[in-house]
Amino acid sequence: MWHWIQRFSSPKHFYVMSAPLIRWFSVSALLLGVYGLYLGLFVAPPDYQQGESYRIIFIHVPAAWMSMFVYMVMAVSSGIGIIWQIRLADMVAAASAPIGASFAFIALVTGSLWGKPMWGAYWVWDARLTSELILLFLYLGYMALQSAIEDQRSADKASGLLAIVGVVNIPIIHYSVVWWNTLHQGATITKFDKPSMHIDMLIPLLLMAVAFKLFYAAVVLVRTRNEALYRDRNRRWVRELVERL
């Protein structure tokens, strides 16, 4: 089985295998995304409390979920790369970081623009926004460390270790911020804290969540292929491939 894993995780094999997957992921992401947006913008009824402004939820919440999901993927792949020395895992981690940071950014901006009509201010030190901001800093720190170290293997391991330490810290940070926030804001209850959401709102939300996941899958595959090409640029399989292009 080890031989199978090693063969499966070779960058060359990955490069070949991922081509049809990218097409599949991007098409399904597009279809689900369009349908989800249609349901969310046209079909779902306005909220009795927030009117139409709640529709930001269909991009804000999936983006926030993805920012956390991608960080976990980053940390797990880094762990795999450090423990089992599988280079493909390091490539996936490096490729995921800018995507995760983008999602965190979207979550922050849309959260801010949702906050203005909802709470009256563009920025509030709400527990979720604050935790999300710190998550963005963690992403930026990871990317900064990756680019600061010249030797690729050291860079991967160092930033991988940082990602793993960050994962341990994320629950601590989140808990601290939530606790701190309840002290200072009282209970900032939003209607969507409770899981009982109107089904017409829940379905587009879930569709968008899946669409974002598929989008991430497609983009991370493209970026990982680029990493594979770059890191193996002196190897024969890359040379032969590029000459055919």
Partner: protein, 61 residues
């Protein structure tokens, strides 16, 4: 719901549409940048191949 109501978004047009616009821009950037990155990597490898060809030719003459 007619189109003008749709764009108006109950008075929240600025907030809703700016959110969607920025999200769309970031998504598009996440599509374009990896494609550009790929082109750059391939171009760089091609240049390296060319350089090595030139050196090989020089050595063999």
């Amino acid at each position: 719901m007619n189109w003008s109501e749709f764009f108006h978004m109950g008075g929240y047009a600025f907030f809703v549409w700016t959110s969607y616009a920025i999200t769309f821009a970031v998504i598009v950037a996440n599509i374009i940048l990896p494609i550009l990155q790929r082109k750059k990597v391939i171009a760089r490898i091609k240049r390296a191949i060319k350089r090595e060809q030139i050196e090989l030719n020089r050595e063999s003459t």
